[in-house]
């Protein structure tokens, strides 16, 4: 419990920062909704005239900007990028930061097992991500109810989309942890985070452009594609299962690697 509390305390600032970011993205986008919806005819026409590949790259195919959820799905992609960066950042730094900051020499000689340390840290990160997740939920419903201008929307589909955030976060968190444990040393978390998040994003975008189905299967941006979920009011279950498997494999791998890991010295 003490490690969990300590870890959570260290993350408070970061959680507040990311929560403000997702809140701002959702609000700023949705504030533009009513203006855009009025000229939706024009916008949809413009979009239709753009190259199909470009639209796919930005996840904008088959969406109707005139509907609440059509527009929200578009905005939510950017929100997802933020959420992914936060989760991946927590993942990559979860254990590695103790080694780069040399605090592992403080923590590990304490009378706790490695697996308890990892469990506490994972739970603390999960709590931090859940706080951001709650902010996403609240901001989404608040922004939609404020800016939808009486236009109808399918709240079930929205709930379904938001329900996927937790698993989406977990993928980036746990993959980050296991990758960092494969490394001898992670000196700086940012490049890894960016590579993972934008790698996954681009994979989804390019997958769409190339019409290539196989490579996009591994990216969570595909598994939790807002346009698909909102459009179909449901998930592509086999794809979501890939995410579940990714999380499970990463967690098991992380425990195995961490409990056998040789901690580097200061030099």
């Amino acid at each position: 419990m003490n490690i969990y509390k300590h870890e959570l305390k260290m993350k408070i600032g970061s959680v507040i920062g990311w929560s403000i970011a997702v809140f701002a993205i959702i609000f700023i986008f949705m504030a533009m909704f009513s203006a855009i919806a009025e000229d939706a005819e024009l916008l949809n026409e413009t979009l239709a005239s753009m190259p199909e590949q470009l639209l796919q790259a930005f996840g904008m195919t088959g969406i109707d900007m005139a509907t609440v959820l059509g527009f929200f799905g578009f905005a939510f992609t950017f929100c997802q990028i933020c959420i992914a960066i936060q989760a991946a950042n927590y993942g990559f730094s979860l254990v590695s930061v103790e080694e780069t900051d040399m605090t592992a020499d403080f923590l590990l000689p304490k009378p706790v097992s490695r697996s308890r340390i990892l469990t506490s840290k994972l739970l603390a990160a999960l709590t931090a991500l859940t706080i951001t997740n709650v902010v996403v939920w609240v901001s989404s419903f608040l922004a939609i109810s404020m800016f939808r201008d009486g236009r109808p929307y399918d709240s079930q589909a929205l709930i379904l989309l938001l329900a996927g955030v937790l698993l989406f976060q977990l993928v980036f968190l746990t993959v980050g942890v296991v990758v960092s444990l494969f490394m001898k040393r992670v000196r700086n978390v940012t490049p890894y985070t960016m590579a993972l998040v934008f790698g996954a994003y681009i994979l989804n975008a390019f997958g769409g452009m190339l019409g290539e189905d196989t490579i996009e299967l591994i990216t969570p941006f595909k598994h939790f594609d807002p346009n698909y979920v909102l459009g179909n009011a449901g998930y592509d279950v086999p794809l979501v299962l890939i995410s579940v498997v990714l999380v499970l494999v990463s967690i098991v791998g992380s425990y195995r690697l961490y409990t056998r890991r040789n901690i580097q010295t200061a030099m």
Binding site: T103, D105, F106, P111, N262
Partner: protein
């Protein structure tokens, strides 16, 4: 009872050697010195004790229990001061100490404040703002606040001023008198000499010798310095004499063996001055490393 039992312990980092086939025991209540130059394997050995790294082969037991298998349990009773101290920079000293104390079964609050007062540590400051020496003090307090039965020190005095070193040594002696066993790794021989009852000398990942400090100093070698005119150094080149040197008007050498042999030899000459003394650990050390 042996507090630490090390048997055929080896650790390789890939192909690089950490330590090789190291065996020794540390008995309850002693202050055990562990000396060797940088890179000899001192920190590797300590990190194996604390399960920071895992052995390639062999075993280390503390309190009769395997360091890896029973790690968390035995670490309840180990206090560790790493050579390089780094803590969560954003925290205040008092928060770090409380965090450290929260890992132990017993209530450490009183001892924590006693130690901080004794080491003249301002607990309200942020760790980030502390000098290296003050961070070291944080390390000392966090390592001792739970009154451990085994204290593991990895080059503990670097960064402490001489006055603080004195205080620190007397603190370690007090802990030792209270019953704590101390494992003291250092490359500064003088401090090992002052504090320890037994030493192991480690070189290139292997133990060269383990002896009582007194044995090491007294029984083994005498440092002889004879001042006389026209003395022939070759005259003293007998069995047991090493490091024979002639230094204008004086002859110096180390002697190991029956002291009467050498005094008779000296008495054959008309000498001006004579010193026979125990060599410092430094000199013994250099001897071992030649």
């Amino acid at each position: 009872m042996s507090i630490i039992e090390v048997t055929n312990l080896s650790k390789y980092y890939g192909k690089a050697r950490g330590i090789e086939d190291v065996s020794f025991n540390v008995e309850e209540g002693e202050i055990f010195g562990f000396i060797g130059p940088n890179g000899a394997g001192k920190s590797t050995t300590i990190r194996l004790f604390l399960a920071l790294i895992y052995p390639t082969s062999g075993q280390a037991k503390i309190f009769g229990k395997d360091c890896i298998e029973f790690g968390p349990e035995i670490r309840q009773q180990i206090g560790y001061l790493p050579s390089e101290v780094f803590y969560y920079d954003k925290m205040k000293v008092i928060d770090l100490l409380k965090y450290s104390a929260s890992f132990y079964d017993r209530d450490c609050t009183q001892r924590m404040h006693e130690l901080a007062d004794y080491m003249e540590l301002d607990v309200k400051r942020k760790i980030n703002d502390l000098s290296y020496g003050n961070k070291k003090k944080v390390g000392i307090v966090q390592g001792l606040l739970h009154q451990p039965k085994l204290i593991v020190l990895d080059e503990p005095t670097s960064g402490l001023d001489p006055l603080m070193q004195q205080k620190f040594f007397s603190l370690i002696r007090d802990e030792n008198e209270r019953g704590a066993t101390v494992f003291f790794s250092s490359h500064i021989l003088d401090e090992v000499q002052r504090l320890c009852s037994r030493v192991a000398i480690i070189k290139d990942g292997g133990i060269i010798t383990i002896e009582d400090i007194k044995t090491l100093q007294k029984d083994n070698y005498k440092k002889v310095n004879i001042v006389a005119n026209g003395l022939d150094a070759a005259h003293f080149d007998v069995e047991g004499v090493t490091n024979l040197r002639r230094d204008d008007g004086a002859v110096q050498f180390f002697y190991k063996g029956d002291i009467n042999v050498i005094t008779r030899l000296i008495s054959e000459h008309d000498i001006a001055d004579l010193d026979i003394e125990d060599p410092t650990l430094e000199e013994i050390f250099i001897h071992y490393y030649q």
